[in-house]
Symmetry: C2
Subunit: 450 residues, 2 copies
């Protein structure tokens, strides 16, 4: 950690580096900053809807939550009446720049889709395409109350810069695979450049065990261990992948990763559709995190992950949307609902997954995987969203968690990340320009395709 940092900035670094320790002395640092007070808001506590509460934010932290809190001098006030405050979501698996390719190629078999459509376009992507694709994705995340995302794609530096400009928090890993050996070489310098940033947490993104050699994966592990960084990886997405491993290595991909020492609490193992019961217990034992992407898995017909079995085994399961070219949006509200109802049907009982359980996956489980102090509580990062309660799909006020999971259809109107308001009453400054630039980048990309 550089020695020229002071006060609030130093604290943010400590938080960003996710040491997992409590930060009891945070308010000492922030007392000199202008506070922000959200007045009269509703919030959920243990499933109950509490009304007319205040949330006091100072710097990048929630300082207090209670009734009739006093705002300090120069405080910015947000009227929370008729609104529900929720803690920010983490979208635990994205390829955010691919938002630019939304709707470009749907309803195709996987290999023609990749070979004829996605790969040729990806080969032409420039830094500017990535920048505006990421910003377009950030607009969407902000509108869905997602304050942090976990990304894997090309040009990680550009993704990190664009994300910072938008004010979102993100884990960003450059993708690593053997076909492009320079990517492995670039990973550690990328991590060094961004390590300690207040919003960006650099990570390592080996694409999958079938696209990275054992040697590559061991180097990935070494780098990740050296920097205490997350390893973000596709694991056991398709049946073909798992059959291939069983045939050639006599091990499942999960067993193989364990054999290389990659299963630990810093691993985000994405998809995990085709797991044996042994795989589930092994992931639990090693405290690895599983990121489920039900919508993408259904759209690409990869199958349905055994979430109930994973959770019974004690695995920390989180949710991600995957990229917009296989989903095709970035909404965790939709992901929560589809995941819950698909799991219910797969396990033949409506009781298989409760709204409370799925809500936990999208919030607390994600915070645990990210090793971030998030949530609606004093001391946590000020990452939250306000939802307009005056929408028909949130009426009547019966079980608000159920509504957020099963009936939510819009109404996030304010999103705050790291104590900064990114959207207020539905308005994101600069949105029109981003939409226009993204449209132009897409047109340029596809024009080149002839």
């Amino acid at each position: 950690m550089s020695s020229h940092l002071f006060g609030a900035e130093l604290l943010s670094l400590t938080i960003a580096q996710c040491s997992g320790q409590p930060y009891d002395d945070f308010n000492t640092f922030y007392l000199h900053l202008n506070p922000m007070l959200i007045k009269g808001v509703s919030l959920l506590q243990s499933g109950l809807l509490l009304k007319n509460r205040d949330i006091l934010i100072q710097g990048n932290r929630i300082i207090d939550i209670g009734r009739d809190l006093k705002d300090g001098e120069g405080a910015e006030t947000i009227d929370g009446h008729g609104k529900l405050a929720i803690p920010g979501f983490i979208n635990c698996h994205t390829h955010l720049a691919m938002t630019l390719l939304r709707g470009y190629a749907d309803d195709m078999e996987l290999m023609p889709w990749l070979k004829e459509k996605i790969w040729p376009l990806e080969a032409r992507l420039t830094e500017d395409d990535i920048r505006w694709g990421v910003k377009l994705g950030c607009l969407e995340l902000i509108r869905f109350g997602i304050t942090c995302y976990n990304d894997m794609y090309y040009f990680p530096d550009v993704t990190a810069e664009a994300t910072r400009e938008m004010g979102l928090r993100a884990f960003i890993s450059g993708v690593v695979f053997d076909m492009k050996p320079e990517m492995l070489r670039d990973v550690e310098p990328f991590i060094r450049r961004w390590k300690g940033d207040e919003l960006i947490m650099p990570a390592v993104g080996p694409h999958a065990a079938y696209t990275c050699s054992e040697e590559t994966l061991l180097k990935v592990k070494e780098i990740a261990d050296r920097h205490d960084a997350m390893v973000h990886m596709h694991v056991s997405e398709t049946r073909e992948e798992v059959d291939g491993f069983l045939l050639t290595k006599g091990m499942s991909p999960v067993e193989y990763l364990d054999h290389l020492g990659l299963l630990n609490e810093r691993l985000a193992a994405v998809h995990c559709v085709w797991l044996s019961e042994e795989d589930c217990y092994l992931l639990a034992e090693r405290k690895a995190n599983v990121v489920d992407c039900t919508v993408s898995n259904l759209k690409l017909t990869s199958g349905i992950a055994p979430l109930n079995t994973l959770m019974k085994a004690g695995v920390n399961v989180c949710l991600g949307t995957d990229g917009a070219s296989s989903n095709n949006n970035l909404s965790l509200f939709e992901e929560m609902k589809v995941t819950a109802i698909v799991q219910k049907n797969a396990y033949h009982t409506p009781a298989a997954f409760s709204a409370e359980q799925i809500w936990q996956l999208a919030t607390e489980n994600a915070y645990r995987a990210a090793r971030l102090n998030m949530g609606l509580r004093a001391g946590a990062l000020a990452d939250l969203a306000l939802i307009d309660l005056r929408r028909p799909w949130l009426c009547p006020e019966t079980n608000m968690v159920s509504h957020l999971v099963y009936s939510m259809a819009g109404g996030v109107d304010t999103t705050i990340v790291n104590g900064r308001v990114l959207m207020r009453e539905g308005v994101i400054p600069g949105e029109a320009e981003i939409l226009e630039k993204a449209q132009r980048r897409f047109e340029r990309l596809t024009e080149q395709m002839g």
Copy 2:
């Protein structure tokens, strides 16, 4: 048809009665009414996005669609720039008053859910509960661009009145089952009261073949035939239901209904999850309509309907959301997406269901089942919605049908039914009062439950 009706009113009756004939002389009737002109809107034609078109509406019909249309004197103008016009959806299966029970009981096994939660509440429902439950549901339909719905529930007269007050179009059938013999008795008077209404098309709603005797079903058929009315019925929803029929009658429910003469183009057979291939071809041959409710079927773990097989057989498949207590919203956008991705996965190919196909189910197939002249074309009923294109999930403008099906997450801002604007730029007059009344009715209902 009563003899005291004139001009426009007479024409509307003709349309409402769905004779399926072309109405070439419609504009003769409407020339005396103030027109409405939507200027500069985008719309879809054969999957292509056409920009800067005008839509001229007169009375309850679309008169013309083209470039630079002239508005007549006293015309009301709607600015359509930056907006996409879509034809109104029909939600082909609802229990709209149950919107009042949204979130009241989730994640429970079917029988405890019905016995401990839903039935005791339903036993206490009053006309006022129905009225505000229906109006709450209508708010949601309007916000999802749904201009017509197909309902089955108690108090059909109250449902019809509340729907008319809200300005929506609906097929409304009182539910009929043997446990409450008065319901069968009430059906024909209900039909007579509403037959010929401009917005309400009364129908017969035998709950299911396992809750109605053969005698009841034959009477239902007789009434429906006499009034050329729709028969709206749950069919083959669960495996237990089908197994029961095979065991006791040696026929599937579909074969049984055919045996009673109920399979025809006026039947809306809802769910149809458990069908044999023979059932599919029989439904096709008889031109019966199948209404799929994927979200509800998953949430209640009924299973996945064989839609690809049904469509291959040539059946007219439509979409419905079911009631809000088993979904828990009324969005056909969500229903389209979940249906498409679940069908892809079930049939093991991403090509199994295209965005264009599923769009067809929610629009043209529904219009065929309803025997209504709907769609964005001259001569059709003026039932349409405008969507704000300046939303990130609709960017880039690649394949707008794909966006509407796979990434849509809000932005319907204007909804027009029967030539009348029900929502303009996101505002529905009276919405706040309806939300408040619905909340009070729900509180009263559950208070009584002790």
